[in-house]
């Protein structure tokens, strides 16, 4: 059952991802991105990471992609003025390099040695919350500074006149 679900959601995620990078219009990409994100959230659930799955749906699908869609509609580039994709040498090389990278990673992941420890639900509210507010408290607090900086930066950049 688990294997079936993994293959199903993995396939959806990969297909969605491929669609994201191949669509001409960004709006289509954004919608496929939501698909991929949901599939990944489902994969998180498979690994008992319920909390992270929820955050994935709420923050990514809910906030980030909505932001993308919002921006796409805001600037509203006409269809005919969208950049025309052309296969330059560098692009082809880049795709090849990415392919090599995937192959390398695949080979490496086969060699991944994993102890047969007690499989633990690391993505639940309890474990993540306990870890965040004990061992990773400082990192967590600094994250808030990062978000603040991002907010201020975004306002400063996007505003016409400050």
């Amino acid at each position: 059952m688990e294997t079936v679900l993994f293959i199903l959601f993995g396939a959806i995620a990969v297909c969605g991802a491929i669609m994201v990078v191949t669509r001409k219009h960004p709006m289509a990409s954004a919608l496929y991105l939501i698909l991929t994100l949901f599939a990944v959230a489902a994969l998180f659930v498979l690994r008992q990471a319920h909390f992270l799955a929820a955050v994935q749906v709420i923050v990514y699908a809910g906030a980030v992609v909505v932001l993308f869609v919002f921006v796409i509609m805001l600037i509203n580039v006409p269809e005919n003025r969208l950049p025309v994709e052309r296969a330059t040498t560098m692009r082809v090389l880049g795709v090849l390099a990415a392919g090599i990278f995937i192959l390398e990673s695949a080979v490496l992941s086969r060699r991944f040695w994993m102890p047969k420890g007690p499989a633990m639900a690391v993505g639940t509210v309890e474990t993540v919350g306990r870890a965040l507010f004990t061992d990773y408290l400082l990192a967590f607090e600094i994250t808030s500074v990062l978000l603040l900086a991002a907010v201020i930066g975004a306002i400063a950049l996007a505003k016409r006149k400050i």
Binding site: V14, S29, V64, L67, A106, D135, Y136
Partner: protein
């Protein structure tokens, strides 16, 4: 029971597709979405490794990555808007004033 390497392979594939998007596309919006894809691919690896190793750090790292992704999207899109106002384009090859 699915082998951990299956998750890592999936992670690598998602990351690689994201990389292709970043390298091969001209549309800044799609590039930004490809970056999100890459981050998601990494998150898959983190969550899987954390759960197989029984270490909460995996979950926490995935959480941090999501935070960074949100911040990155916000700033990146703000930059995009600013640039679009300036250049009237979202073609990344047009944005090459960053040279000597």
């Amino acid at each position: 029971m699915i082998a951990p390497s299956a998750y890592l392979l999936l992670s690598a594939v998602l990351f690689g597709i994201g990389v292709v998007g970043v390298v091969a596309r001209k549309n800044v919006l799609i590039i930004l979405m490809s970056v999100e894809l890459m981050l998601n691919g990494v998150n898959v690896a983190f969550v899987a490794a954390g759960s197989y190793l029984g270490d909460a750090a995996g979950g926490v790292f995935a959480f941090m990555v999501m935070t960074v992704a949100a911040a990155e999207a916000a700033v990146g899109l703000a930059l995009l808007i600013a640039l679009y106002r300036l250049k009237e384009t979202i073609d990344i090859t047009e944005l090459k004033v960053l040279k000597w």
